[in-house]
Structure formats: structure tokens, C-alpha cells
């Protein structure tokens, strides 16, 4: 009886009470103190991504990420195109990391069709992937600079990444959308003097990014803003299934280049960078350490690379896989990037699922932002190494 009565009475009361009270004077309830903020999709910091944040005063009490503003249906489109014509649109989710997003796709198709990649192509793939990782991380760092109001940190990485873009342009002919990896190797060989130019540029690049420590990572303002904000413990990082720099900043030593080496990573000396703190500072520093490591890998690969040889095993036109499925993953700039390709003896994939690091790190965002101050939101949000276009696919 009482259960039936209460909603009726409350229904009756609510219009009366709102009549009696002047608007704006109903702040006695705790619920009324909580305000809803829409961060994005247009926001000077975050692009193409919305966070619905509830704040109590200065503290975030709830965060509901609303991605999907760049959802372009890549997975559906892939079912209509054959394995080769899928390449250009599959690299669009992260055009500044396009080599790494094509890497698992090419590895998967090579496994499906059953072809081997020439030795020189394997090394060139590693070089292109590592260069592209640096290009991605530099852009990410530049935007992190904007997020924290550090304009110099936008200008420096945005300028230095052009060095490596030049190298990639020499290799593939395009500034950002390389479409350099194809099933069976790479699209074309590098020009004659590439090794010398690459070594010189990478050495200079390494010298430049070491200077970032002084201006950015040792900056007391940055440390004050990012230290101890958004702490993700080791257990939670594993439980939430985060990946890449977010995971390694929380003290889990998991780098797919090292744990499950693909192509020639097992012949190279790869060191994965781990920090134990798990806060925004660690998450912003691990990608920078990765860039230094990438320079090492590129130098090793240049040294060990065969100086001549074929770079592409030609496929038959319209290659077909068997009645099979593969799941291949690589370490991209944002962490593990896996592709699940289901084939049904047709030239088109039956189903292509792209499992990206950004989407997997998204789950950590509401978890970390709860209880954080609103001012710390940008520092936490972008430290998750999140690229919205990739997460939406």
C-alpha cells in the first residue's frame, strides 16, 4: 500500500513546490549541487570526443565518455573490398601512425594466404614502423603541450616530427598516408642514399628529443600538474585491460615487440620502458622514453639490414584465404593493435575486427576521472594516449 502511495504523493507535491519556490533557490539537495558539463565535441582541447562530466564543486563525481563522432564504419566497408583495396582506407583511423595500423593487417593476410616476406622488407618494415611511432608520439606530445597550456611544447615536437616525415616521404612518397605496407612486403624499395640520410636524421632527432627533458619533463609546473593525478595501480591496469604506455606506466612490463616478436624484432635488442608510478606524469613520460628506444631500434635495423634484395613477394591478383581466421597484433604507438580477420574463401574478408589501443584505454577514462579535480581533466585525458578517430574506427 505504502509503495503505491508514495509516487502519487510525490507527483502531487512536485509541481506545487516548484510553484511556491522562486527558481534558483532549491539548492538544499545534494543532487542540485551537481552540475553536468559537456566537454567536447568542440572544445579547445579535445577534438571529436565528448565527455559528459558531472561535477560537485571542483570535483568530478561521474564521467561518461561518448565517443563515436568519427565512426566511419571501417569494419563494414572492409567486407566489400578485397584484401588489397582495403589497405588505403584501413590506415585512415590513425594517419600519423599508418604503418603500424597496417602492420597487423599485412601480417594476418600473409598468414592467411601463406606467403613469406623477403628479409630486406622485414627490416624496412621495422624502420618504417619505428619512424611512424615517433611521428605519432611527437604529435601526441604536441597536443599534450596544448592541453597543459605549454605552447613551446606544441611547437617543438610539431617541428621535429617533420624531420621524420621527410624520411617517410622519401620511403613511400606521401607525407602521412603512406600505404607502404602491403601483404608480401613493402610497396617499393628505398632510394639509394636512404641509409645515410636516415642515420643522420635519426641521430639529430634523438639529440633534439633529449632536450625535451629540460623544457617539459623537468618543468616544475608540469610536475605539479601531472604528478599524483589519475593514479592507475598495477592491479587496476591489468583488470581494465589497458595497453601500451598506460600499462607500462603502471609497472607492467608488457611490450608486444618483446613478448611476441613479429618480423625481425626478435633479432633486435628491444628494451621496454616501465615506470612504476602510474600517474599522469609517468604516462606522459613513457612514450617519450619509447621514442628514444625507437631511435636505438632504427639504428640497429639499419646496421643489420641486408644491403640488397627483393622487397616484395608478389601475390596473385585477388588473393584468397582459406576457411580460416587469424588474430595478429603488434605494438603501435598507442599499445597493442590487433586485427581479427575471418575469411571464407572469398577475396574479401568475411569479417574484420580492429581492436585498437585507444578503444581499450577508453575504459580507464571514467575510472581515473572520478574523484579528480576538473582542472586535472585534460592532464589525465590526454595522458591515456587516446586518439579518438582510431577509437571510433
Amino acid at each position: 500500500m505504502s509503495k503505491q502511495l508514495t509516487p502519487k504523493s510525490s507527483k502531487k507535491q512536485s509541481p506545487e513546490s516548484s510553484k511556491n519556490l522562486p527558481p534558483g533557490l532549491q539548492l538544499e539537495n545534494v543532487d542540485d549541487r551537481i552540475m553536468t558539463l559537456n566537454v567536447g565535441p568542440q572544445h579547445p582541447g579535445s577534438g571529436h570526443m565528448r565527455l559528459i562530466i558531472k561535477v560537485d564543486g571542483d570535483y568530478i563525481v561521474n564521467c561518461d565518455p561518448d565517443p563515436g563522432y568519427v565512426h566511419r564504419g571501417e569494419e563494414k566497408m572492409a567486407e566489400y573490398r578485397n584484401y588489397i583495396t582495403n589497405i588505403p582506407h584501413l590506415e585512415r583511423p590513425v594517419i600519423h601512425d599508418s604503418c603500424n595500423i597496417l602492420y597487423p593487417y599485412c601480417l594476418g593476410i600473409e598468414e592467411l594466404v601463406g606467403i613469406e616476406v623477403p628479409e630486406r622488407a622485414k627490416y624496412l618494415r621495422v624502420i618504417a614502423a619505428e619512424l611512424n611511432r615517433c611521428v605519432y608520439t611527437q604529435y601526441w606530445l604536441a597536443i599534450y603541450g596544448i592541453f597543459l597550456g605549454h605552447s613551446t611544447m606544441f611547437m617543438w615536437p610539431a617541428g621535429d616530427r617533420e624531420l621524420l616525415i621527410d624520411l617517410l616521404e622519401k620511403m613511400s612518397g606521401a607525407r602521412v598516408t603512406h600505404a607502404y605496407f602491403v601483404p608480401g612486403g613493402i610497396r617499393n624499395d628505398v632510394p639509394a642514399n636512404f641509409e645515410d640520410v636516415c642515420l643522420r636524421q635519426v641521430n639529430y632527432f634523438e639529440k633534439r628529443i633529449k632536450e625535451y627533458a629540460g623544457i617539459f619533463y623537468d618543468n616544475p609546473i608540469l610536475i605539479a600538474r601531472t604528478k599524483d593525478t589519475g593514479v592507475l595501480s598495477r592491479e587496476d591496469a591489468i583488470r581494465l585491460g589497458t595497453t601500451g604506455s598506460v600499462l607500462r606506466a603502471s609497472g607492467v612490463d608488457f611490450d608486444i615487440r618483446k613478448k611476441e616478436p613479429y618480423d625481425v624484432y626478435d633479432e633486435l635488442d628491444v628494451h621496454s620502458n616501465v615506470m612504476k608510478a602510474g600517474d599522469s606524469y609517468a604516462r606522459s613520460k613513457v612514450p617519450w622514453l619509447d621514442m628514444l628506444e625507437s631511435c636505438n631500434i632504427i639504428r640497429q635495423a639499419l646496421e643489420k639490414m641486408p644491403k640488397s634484395g627483393g622487397v616484395r613477394t608478389k601475390l596473385k591478383p585477388n588473393p584468397k584465404g582459406g576457411d580460416d581466421e587469424v588474430y595478429r597484433r603488434v605494438e603501435s604507438g598507442r599499445g597493442s593493435l590487433g586485427m581479427h580477420i575471418v575469411s571464407d574463401k572469398k577475396p574479401q574478408p568475411y569479417r574484420l575486427k580492429i581492436s585498437v589501443g585507444s578503444f581499450r584505454n577508453l575504459i580507464a577514462m571514467p575510472y581515473l576521472l572520478k574523484g579528480e579535480k576538473l582542472g586535472n581533466m585534460p592532464a589525465v585525458y590526454w595522458s591515456l594516449n587516446y586518439w579518438p578517430v582510431e577509437a571510433d574506427r
Binding site: P67, G68, H71, G73, E75, K76, M77, Y80, L112, V113, G114, I115, E116, P118, G173, G185, N188, D189, P191, A237, I238, R239, L240, G241, L247, V252, F254, K259, E260, G309, G310, V311, R312, T313, K314, L315, K316, P319, K320, G321, G322, D324, E325, V326, Y327, R329, S336, G338, H340, V342, Y350, R351, K353, S355, F359, R360, L362, I363, D392, R393
Partner: protein, 190 residues
């Protein structure tokens, strides 16, 4: 310059017939075999081992057993989900959901990806959330599948029972068509 390079490489590279390798089934990788043996020992004929390849194994279970199987797999050391992909099979009237599970905490399992697949019935006229296309959610077993399952719900219309918020994630708010990754949904002009 570049065109000559291309010609050279085209001459150098050899034409290889694209054919799947036919390996004898006897020499299955030992470690992966031991993993699937554990699962088969526990569940018997409720599970079906789809394949055992190097570093990749796949187990098919019925939807009644998927939570128990997932709990057992978590006890084996797999602690997170890499991806959850739904595949639509209109011929057999089923939608398959594949959980790709990996391990961070156990270094011996670091290379392994265990695919746990289960199937839900498919209806020709889908009403997402209100028809028989339902599966138990693995969110309580593997917390990391939360957003993946939300994506799977809107893309294929598989309702996950026990999931705290089966809301829309990527598609526009006013999406009224059938779930787009079903095979009977066609892109325009295709």
C-alpha cells in the same frame, strides 16, 4: 628514379603461388595443446577445441557454459580481453561472439591469445534488446570487456544479460536501422 626502382624490384621479386600450407596435424604446438587439454579435461564434451596453432587457440562453448568457461580460463591466468568481435552467420541463423583473451600477469602466457567463442540465436527481424539474441555478459569475469560488449550490442544487436549499461556507444543517437554489422545490412550502392 622511383619508377626504375619499382621495375627492378618487380623483376627481383618472385611470383609465388598463394596457397594455404597443409601441415600434418600431428605436430601441434605442445604448450598450446596443454592449455586446451586443461579446458577439455574440465568441461569434457561441452567444449569444442576449434584449432590449436602456435600462440593461438580457440575454444567454442555453448552460451549456457560461457560464464563458467570464462571463470576457469581466468583461473588459468588469462586476465584481460584484447577484443570482442561479433561475427554474423545468416545461413546458420547464429551470431558468434569471439572473446580474444590474453594475459599480462603470467609471463608464460604472454604470447598466448585464447579465443573463447560462443553463439547466440539470430532473428531475421532484429529488435536489439527485445528479441532472443541474448548472451550472458562476461563483464563480471573480465572487467575489460565492458566497452567491447557495448560496441557489440549496437553493431550486431547481441544483448548481454547482466551488463550494467547496454547503451549506445558509437552510432548516432537517432540510429533506427538494423545493427550495421549484420550481413543483411547493406552499404549504399553495394
Amino acid at each position: 628514379m622511383s619508377t626504375s626502382d619499382n621495375k627492378e624490384t618487380a623483376q627481383e621479386s618472385t611470383q609465388v603461388e598463394a596457397k594455404p600450407e597443409d601441415k600434418p596435424k600431428e605436430n601441434l604446438p605442445a604448450f598450446e595443446k596443454s592449455l586446451t587439454d586443461k579446458i577439455q579435461k574440465k568441461f569434457g564434451d561441452k567444449t569444442e577445441i576449434a584449432y590449436v596453432k602456435s600462440n593461438r587457440t580457440r575454444v567454442n562453448v555453448k552460451k549456457e557454459d560461457v560464464v563458467k568457461a570464462a571463470q576457469f580460463i581466468r583461473e588459468m591466468g588469462f586476465d584481460h580481453a584484447e577484443s570482442v568481435s561479433g561475427v554474423d552467420y545468416p545461413e546458420s541463423k547464429e551470431i558468434e561472439v569471439v572473446y580474444h583473451l590474453g594475459s599480462y600477469s603470467d609471463p608464460t602466457l604472454a604470447k598466448q591469445i585464447l579465443a573463447l567463442a560462443t553463439r547466440a540465436t539470430r532473428e531475421d527481424d532484429p529488435k536489439p534488446g527485445n528479441d532472443s539474441t541474448k548472451l550472458p555478459s562476461l563483464r563480471d569475469v573480465f572487467y575489460s570487456v565492458e566497452f567491447h560488449e557495448r560496441e557489440c550490442f549496437e553493431m550486431l544487436g547481441v544483448f548481454f544479460e547482466g551488463h550494467p549499461d547496454n547503451r549506445r556507444l558509437l552510432l548516432p543517437e537517432d540510429w533506427a536501422d538494423i545493427p550495421p554489422l549484420r550481413k543483411d545490412f547493406g552499404n549504399k550502392g553495394r
